[in-house]
C-alpha cells in the first residue's frame, strides 16, 4: 500500500464527516446518525487494520516509518517567510495505536447502541463520539507538535462535552469545568514547551526534533525566564511533560478524572480509560528522546508515575462507587505507564498502554452493563453503589465472565495481558534501580501499588458479583442477562484480548512476525526507542507535499535483543526481570488472597483496618484533600477574591475617581464662562443682531405679492435691462 496523505487521512476524515453529517441530522433521525457513526468508525477500523497488518505483520523493520507533509498555510510575502506544515507520521507505534483506537472505539460504539438506547439524547452522544474518535486518530497520526496539540485540545473539548452530557445535573457542570480547566493547565505548559522547542529547532515536526537532538542542539541551550537562565532541555521537557500530567491525570493534576465519571459510561470507557488519557503517555513516548537529555527528567517522571500509581491505588481501596474504583484504577495504571517512561521501559510502557486500553475499556463496558441493569424503582435512577450490589453473578453471567478476565489482567495474574506489560515495567524499574539507587523509590511504590491493585479490583468483584445480594429489592428487579450482540459481544471480544498470548509472543508471535528472531516477543521487536541518529539526514531537506519516504532507504534492521547491552549485562537484565516477574506473581496472588479472605471468607474484618487507621481512612475518602486544597484553597480563597478586588479597583476606584474626576474640573471652568456668556455675548451681540434684522424686513415684505406671473414679468424686465446694459 502506498501511503499518501489522502488515503491515510480518511481514517481521520471518516469519523469527522460522520460528525459533520450527524450534527445536522441527529435531531431528525437519531437512528440514522448512530448508523453513520458506527459505519464510519468501522471504515476507519478497516483502514487502520490495513496499516496495522502492513506494518506489524509485514515487510517493514522496526524503524520503518512513513512521513508525508503538506502545507497548511504559509506567511510568505513582503520579504518574510514562514510555512506551517502538517503531515502524517506512521511507524509501528502509530499503526498499533490506530488499530487499538479504532477497534476499541468501534466496540464501544456497538456497546453504546445498547447502553444509550433509552437516553433522550441517544443520537447526540454519537455525534460527540465521532468527533472524539476523529480527534484521537488525528492525534495518533500527527507528525508534528502543533497538530498534536490541536487534536489534543479537540479531545479535551469532546471530553468536556461528554462529561457535561447530562447537563440537567449541576454536578455535571462542575465536573466538566474541572476536567477541562485541570487539563488546560497542562496544555498551557505543553504549548510553552512547543514554543521553546520550536525556537531551538525551527520546526514542529518530530523527525526534525529528533534530528536536532541527535545533532546536540539541546545540550547546552538555555532559556531565560524571569531573568534565570535555565537549561532549555529541562524546561522544554518539563513543560511538555506537564501536558502529560494534565491529560493523563498524574499527580498533582489527577483530581479531574474521578469527577469525569459523570459522563455516560461508554464515554468513560473510550475517553477516560482507553484512549484520551493514554494520549498523554503517547506524547511522552513520542518525546522520549527529549526527556533523555537532561538527567533530572527521567527520575522525575518515574517519581510522578510511582506516586500516582500508589496514591490512586490507595484511594481506590476505600471507594464504594463502582465507577470510581475503576476511575482510580485508571489513574493508577496510567501512573504505571508514566513510571515505565520514567524508567526507560519504552516498549513496556507502550505495551501497557495497549493492554490497559483493552482491559480497562472492557471493565468500563462491563460496569456499564451492570449499572444499566440496576434500576432503582423508587428514585428512577441507575445504581452505582457497591454496598447495594452483591451476588450479581447469578443474574449476569457474561458480564461476570468478561469482568473477571479483565480483573485478572489488571491484577497481573500470569497468562493475562496485564501481567505481561506491568511485569515488564516493574522489571525495568528494578533494572534501573540496580544502576541508580534513586529508582528504588518509584520501583517500590510500583510494587506496593501492584499489590493494592490486585486487592481493590478483587474487592470490587467480590462485593459486586459474589456473596449475598445486599439490596434484595433491587436485586429482584434485575432481568436475567440474555446474550445480545450489542451488549455482550463487545465485552467478550475485549475479554478475549486480555489474554497474554497476544502480547507475549510465546504462542503466536514468532510465526506472525517475520523480522523477529525466534527468541523474543514480537512487541519488543517492533516498538523500539526512536534512534535519533537515524534522523540526521532530515535536517536540511526541503519538503514539498510529496512522498519523502523514498529519499532515505532504511536497512532492514537486525533486531538487537539485548537492548544494546553486552552479553553479560543482558544476562543480568534477564535475571532481574525474572526476579521482578516472580515478585509480581506473588504480589498479585497475595492481593487476591487478601481480598478473598476479607470479602468471601470474611475471616479478616475490613472494619478493623478502618478503625485502626481512621485518620488515613478519612484522608483517603477525601482523596488526600486535593480537591479541598484546589477548590476551597486556591480558587475560592485566592483567585476569586483577587478578581473581585481587581474589578472593584477598576470600576470603583480607577474609573470613578481618576477618569470621572475630570468632570469636576470642567464644571468649575464652565461656571466662569457661563457668566461671561450671559452678559456680553448673549445680550448685546446676539439679541442686538436679531432686532436690527426685524427692522429691515418690514420694507422688503411689500414686494411679495404672491402672483407668479408678476414675478415672471419682473424677472424678464430686470434681466433684459441688465443684459441690455451689458451688451
Amino acid at each position: 500500500m502506498d501511503y499518501t496523505i489522502t488515503t491515510v487521512a480518511w481514517i481521520v476524515l471518516l469519523p469527522f464527516f460522520a460528525f459533520v453529517i450527524n450534527a445536522f441530522i441527529v435531531k431528525k433521525v437519531p437512528n440514522v446518525a448512530v448508523g453513520i457513526s458506527c459505519a464510519a468508525i468501522f471504515g476507519s477500523f478497516l483502514l487502520s487494520g490495513r496499516i496495522f497488518f502492513d506494518f506489524v505483520f509485514g515487510k517493514y523493520s522496526a524503524d520503518y516509518h512513513v512521513h508525508k507533509v503538506f502545507n497548511w498555510f504559509d506567511l510568505n510575502g513582503g520579504g518574510q517567510e514562514f510555512v506551517m506544515k502538517m503531515g502524517i507520521y506512521i511507524d509501528n507505534m502509530t499503526a498499533m495505536m490506530l488499530f487499538m483506537v479504532t477497534g476499541v472505539a468501534f466496540l464501544i460504539h456497538i456497546f453504546s447502541t445498547y447502553y444509550m438506547k433509552e437516553d433522550t439524547r441517544y443520537g447526540r452522544f454519537f455525534v460527540y463520539m465521532s468527533l472524539f474518535t476523529s480527534a484521537m486518530l488525528g492525534l495518533v497520526l500527527s507528525d508534528n507538535l502543533i497538530s498534536f496539540f490541536i487534536f489534543w485540545e479537540l479531545m479535551g473539548f469532546c471530553s468536556y462535552s461528554l462529561i457535561g452530557f447530562y447537563y440537567e445535573k449541576e454536578d455535571a457542570g462542575n465536573a466538566n469545568i474541572k476536567a477541562f480547566m485541570t487539563t488546560r493547565i497542562g496544555d498551557v505548559f505543553f504549548l510553552l514547551g512547543i514554543l521553546a522547542i520550536y525556537f531551538q529547532v525551527g520546526s514542529f515536526t518530530f523527525v526534525d526534533i529528533y534530528a536536532a537532538i541527535s545533532s546536540g542542539m539541546f545540550t547546552d541551550a538555555t532559556v531565560t525566564i524571569f531573568g534565570f537562565g535555565l537549561p532549555l532541555a529541562l524546561i522544554a521537557s518539563l513543560a511538555i511533560f506537564m501536558g502529560t500530567i494534565g491529560k493523563s491525570a498524574q499527580f498533582p493534576l489527577q483530581v479531574w478524572l474521578p469527577d469525569a465519571m459523570m459522563g455516560p459510561t461508554p464515554c468513560s470507557a473510550l475517553i477516560h480509560a482507553a484512549t484520551m488519557v493514554a494520549a498523554g503517555v503517547y506524547l511522552s513516548l513520542r518525546m522520549f528522546p527529549l526527556y533523555e537529555i537532561h538527567p533530572f527528567m527521567l527520575p522525575f517522571i518515574a517519581t510522578i508515575g510511582g506516586i500516582t500509581a500508589l496514591g490512586a491505588a490507595t484511594i481506590a481501596l476505600v471507594q464504594t462507587d463502582f465507577k470510581a474504583v475503576l476511575a482510580y484504577s485508571t489513574i493508577s495504571q496510567l501512573g504505571y505507564m508514566v513510571l515505565g517512561v520514567g524508567v526507560g521501559a519504552y516498549n513496556a510502557a507502550f505495551m501497557h498502554l495497549i493492554t490497559h486500553a483493552i482491559f480497562k475499556a472492557c471493565l468500563f463496558l462491563a460496569a456499564g452493563s451492570v449499572i444499566h441493569s440496576l434500576h432503582d424503582h423508587h428514585t428512577h435512577q441507575h445504581v452505582q453503589e457497591m454496598p447495594r450490589m452483591g451476588g450479581l453473578k447469578n443474574k449476569m453471567k457474561f458480564t461476570w465472565f468478561a469482568m473477571w478476565c479483565c480483573t485478572f489482567a489488571i491484577a497481573g495474574v500470569p497468562f493475562f495481558s496485564g501481567f505481561v506489560s506491568k511485569d515488564r515495567i516493574l522489571g525495568d524499574a528494578l533494572v534501573m534501580a540496580m544502576h541508580n539507587p534513586y529508582y528504588w523509590f518509584p520501583a517500590t511504590l510500583g510494587f506496593i501499588g501492584a499489590l493494592l491493585t490486585a486487592f481493590y479490583m478483587c474487592r470490587m468483584m467480590f462485593l459486586a458479583f459474589h456473596g449475598e445480594p445486599r439490596d434484595k429489592d433491587l436485586y429482584d428487579h434485575i432481568h436475567e442477562e440474555k446474550f445480545s450482540w450489542n451488549r455482550n459481544l463487545p465485552l467478550l471480544i475485549l475479554a478475549l484480548f486480555t489474554l497474554g498470548v497476544w502480547f507475549s509472543g510465546s504462542l503466536t508471535g514468532q510465526k506472525l512476525v517475520k523480522v523477529a528472531s525466534d527468541k523474543v516477543e514480537w512487541f519488543d521487536t517492533l516498538i523500539v526507542k526512536p534512534k535519533t541518529e537515524n534522523f540526521k539526514n532530515y535536517q536540511k531537506q526541503n519538503w514539498g507535499p510529496v512522498d519523502i519516504k523514498s529519499t532515505i532507504s532504511f536497512p532492514v534492521s537486525k533486531y538487537d535483543s539485548n537492548h544494546g547491552l553486552s552479553e553479560e549485562e543482558a544476562h543480568h537484565v534477564h535475571s532481574v526481570h525474572s526476579i521482578g516477574a516472580i515478585a509480581s506473581i506473588i504480589i498479585a496472588f497475595s492481593g487476591i488472597f487478601i481480598a478473598f479472605m476479607m470479602y468471601i471468607r470474611k475471616s479478616w474484618n475490613p472494619g478493623w483496618w478502618v478503625n485502626t487507621f481512621s485518620t488515613w481512612y478519612r484522608a483517603l475518602q477525601n482523596k488526600y484533600y486535593f480537591d479541598d486544597m484546589y477548590i476551597k484553597g486556591i480558587i475560592q480563597k485566592g483567585l476569586i477574591p483577587v478578581n473581585n478586588f481587581l474589578a472593584w479597583v477598576d470600576m470603583g476606584i480607577y474609573d470613578k475617581y481618576a477618569i470621572d474626576g475630570w468632570e469636576k474640573v470642567n464644571r468649575c471652568a464652565f461656571t466662569v464662562s457661563k457668566w461671561f456668556d450671559n452678559i456680553f455675548v448673549d445680550t448685546i451681540a446676539v439679541d442686538g443682531t436679531g432686532a436690527s434684522v426685524r427692522a429691515f424686513n418690514v420694507i422688503l415684505r411689500t414686494f411679495q405679492s404672491g402672483k407668479i406671473q408678476f414675478y415672471i414679468i419682473m424677472i424678464i424686465l430686470v434681466l433684459s435691462s441688465y443684459i441690455w446694459s451689458l451688451a
Partner: protein, 516 residues
C-alpha cells in the same frame, strides 16, 4: 498614485446612499409600513455593501505587498493644504473591510426588533458603517482623521438613545474618552504636516511612512525632544484608547453594557480593531524606530491587558460586562502580536483582529438574543440569586451556538481563535519569553471565566424564570450561521484570510526589521 477607480468609492459611499434612502424612502409609504421599509432598505444596502466587498476581494491581487494600484483613488480635496481624497486598500485593511461588511449585515438583521425610532436608528447605523469604511480606506491622514471623528457621532447617539438605563453616562464617557485620544492624534497630524514640509505629500500616510523623522526634533516645555518619540506616544495614546489598552480601557465596559446589541457587536467587532489598525497603518510605518524602541512597553501593556482583563472578567456578574472585559483581554493578545514585530506575531495580530471580530460578535449577538427574552443580564443577581439556570435544557440550539462562540473565543484548536493566538505566541516567545509565560496564563484564565459563566448559566435544572424562554428563531439562526461557519472554516483553513494579509504584513515587518 493617481487613480480614479470607482470600486472603493462605491464601497465607501454605499452606506451613505443608504442613509439618504432611510431618510427619504419612508415618505413613499404609509405609516404602518415605514418601519419595515427602513429595515429592508438597510438590509439591502448592507447586502450591496457585502457584494461590493466580495467584488473587491475577487479583484484583489494577493501577491502585491503594498497598496493595490488598481483600486487607487486620489483626488485633490482641499488644495490649499494639500489634503487629498485618497483611498486605497491593502492586505491589512481588506480583512477589516470584509469583516465590517459581514458584521453590519448581520447587525441589521439582529436589529430587526428595534422599535424605538426605527428610522433614526438605521440611518445612524448605516452612517456608522460608512465612517468605518472611511477609516479603513483612507490614505490621507486628514481624511482618516475626519472619518475617525465622524464615527463618534453615530456611536454617541446609538448608545445615548437606544442604550440601556445608564446610557447617557456611557455615551458621554465613550465620546470624551475617544475624543481625548483623537486630539492627541490631531496634534500628531499637524506636527507631521509641518515636519514634512507642507508639501503635496504632507498628509499622505504612505509618503510619510518609512521612518523619515528620525533626526527631527521638537521644542516643547523648554526642552528639546525627539520628534518621533513624542509623536509616537501621541499617536499611541490616540489608538490605545480605541483598542483599548490598559489604563485607557474603562470606557469599554460602560459602553458595551449600555449599548444596544448590534452596537455592541460593531463596537467590539469592528471599532476596537480601528485602534490596532491605526498602529499597523500609521504608528508603525511612520515611526518605525520609535515603535521598535518602545516595543517593550507595548508588550508589557499587552500583557497587562491580557491578565488584567481576564481577571476582571472573572469577577463580573453581568454577562455582557464579562464579555466586554474578555475583549480587553483578547485585544491584549493583538497588542502582544504587534509588539513582537515578527512575521508570525504581526500576522497573528491581524488574524486575531479578524477572528476576534467574528467570535466576539457572536458572543454579543447571543447575549442580545438572550436579553430579548430575559430583559436582564445577571449571571448572579446582586442579591445572590441565579439570573439564569439550565438554559441548556431550555434553549438547545442557542446553547450549541453559544458553545461554538465560547470555544472560539477561548481559542480552542479547530476554531478560529487558536491559530491567531498560536501565531502570536510564536511571534513573541523569542523576544519576550517571560511575557509569553505569563500571557499563557491569560489563556488559562480566559478559559476559566468563560466556562464558569457557561456552567452557571447553562447547567443544572431550569430555573422558574427561564421556563418561558423560546429557542432561537429562524432569523436569529440565519444571522448566527455565517459567523459559525466563518469561525469554524477559518479555524481549519485560515489561508483565505492569511493570503490577503501576508504580503502587506510581511512588508511592514521587513520595514520594522531595518530598525531593530
Amino acid at each position: 498614485m493617481h487613480g480614479t477607480s470607482t470600486l472603493l468609492n462605491w464601497i465607501l459611499w454605499t452606506p451613505f446612499i443608504g442613509v439618504v434612502g432611510v431618510i427619504l424612502l419612508p415618505y413613499l409609504f404609509s405609516k404602518d409600513k415605514q418601519d419595515n421599509v427602513v429595515r429592508w432598505w438597510s438590509l439591502l444596502n448592507t447586502i450591496g455593501s457585502m457584494i461590493l466587498a466580495v467584488v473587491l476581494y475577487m479583484k484583489f491581487d494577493t501577491s502585491v505587498p503594498g497598496m493595490q494600484e488598481q483600486f487607487a483613488v486620489n483626488i485633490a480635496w482641499i488644495k490649499q493644504f494639500n489634503i487629498f481624497y485618497s483611498l486605497g486598500v491593502d492586505g491589512i485593511s481588506l480583512p477589516m473591510i470584509m469583516l465590517a461588511a459581514l458584521l453590519f449585515f448581520l447587525c441589521i438583521l439582529s436589529s430587526w426588533t428595534i422599535t424605538k425610532s426605527v428610522k433614526g436608528y438605521f440611518a445612524l447605523f448605516l452612517m456608522l458603517q460608512g465612517t468605518v469604511y472611511g477609516v479603513f480606506l483612507a490614505l490621507d491622514f486628514f481624511l482618516f482623521y475626519v472619518y475617525w471623528e465622524v464615527m463618534l457621532l453615530p456611536m454617541f447617539f446609538l448608545i445615548g438613545i437606544w442604550g440601556g438605563e445608564n446610557r447617557e453616562y456611557a455615551a458621554v464617557k465613550f465620546f470624551l474618552y475617544t475624543f481625548f485620544g483623537s486630539i492627541l492624534m490631531l496634534v500628531g497630524i499637524i506636527a507631521l504636516y509641518y515636519a514634512s514640509g507642507k508639501g503635496v505629500d504632507s498628509f499622505n500616510i504612505l509618503a510619510l511612512s518609512g521612518g523619515k523623522f528620525i533626526d527631527n526634533q521638537v521644542h516643547m516645555f523648554g526642552t528639546v525632544w525627539s520628534f518621533s518619540k513624542v509623536f509616537f506616544w501621541a499617536m499611541f495614546i490616540g489608538f490605545a484608547i480605541k483598542v483599548p489598552v490598559f489604563p485607557f480601557h474603562t470606557w469599554l465596559p460602560h459602553a458595551h453594557v449600555q449599548a444596544p446589541t448590534a452596537v455592541s457587536v460593531i463596537l467590539a467587532g469592528v471599532l476596537l480593531k480601528m485602534g490596532t489598525y491605526g498602529f499597523l497603518r500609521i504608528a508603525y510605518p511612520i515611526f518605525p524606530q520609535a515603535s521598535v524602541q518602545f516595543a517593550d512597553w507595548i508588550a508589557v501593556l499587552g500583557l497587562i491587558n491580557v491578565i488584567y482583563g481576564a481577571l476582571c472578567a472573572m469577577a463580573q456578574t453581568d454577562v455582557k460586562k464579562l464579555v466586554a472585559y474578555s475583549s480587553v483581554s483578547h485585544m491584549g493578545f493583538v497588542m502582544l502580536g504587534l509588539a513582537a514585530m515578527t512575521v508570525h506575531g504581526m500576522n497573528g495580530a491581524v488574524l486575531q483582529m479578524f477572528n476576534h471580530g467574528t467570535s466576539t460578535a457572536m458572543m454579543f449577538l447571543l447575549i442580545g438574543i438572550l436579553y430579548e427574552r430575559s430583559h436582564h443580564r445577571w449571571i448572579v443577581r446582586p442579591d445572590g440569586t441565579k439570573g439564569f439556570g439550565g438554559l441548556y435544557t431550555q434553549l438547545p440550539k442557542y446553547s450549541i451556538v453559544f458553545i461554538i462562540a465560547m470555544f472560539a473565543s477561548m481559542g480552542l484548536p479547530g476554531l478560529s481563535g487558536f491559530i491567531s493566538e498560536a501565531l502570536i505566541f510564536l511571534g513573541i516567545y523569542q523576544k519576550y519569553t517571560t511575557i509569553t509565560v505569563l500571557a499563557l496564563f491569560g489563556l488559562l484564565i480566559g478559559a476559566a471565566y468563560l466556562l464558569w459563566m457557561f456552567k452557571r448559566m447553562f447547567f443544572g435544572e431550569v430555573i422558574e424564570e427561564c421556563k418561558s424562554y423560546t429557542d432561537m428563531n429562524a432569523r436569529e439562526i440565519f444571522y448566527m450561521a455565517p459567523l459559525c461557519v466563518a469561525v469554524i472554516v477559518f479555524g481549519i483553513y485560515p489561508t483565505p484570510v492569511l493570503d490577503i494579509m501576508k504580503s502587506s504584513v510581511g512588508q511592514l515587518v521587513s520595514l520594522l526589521a531595518q530598525f531593530q
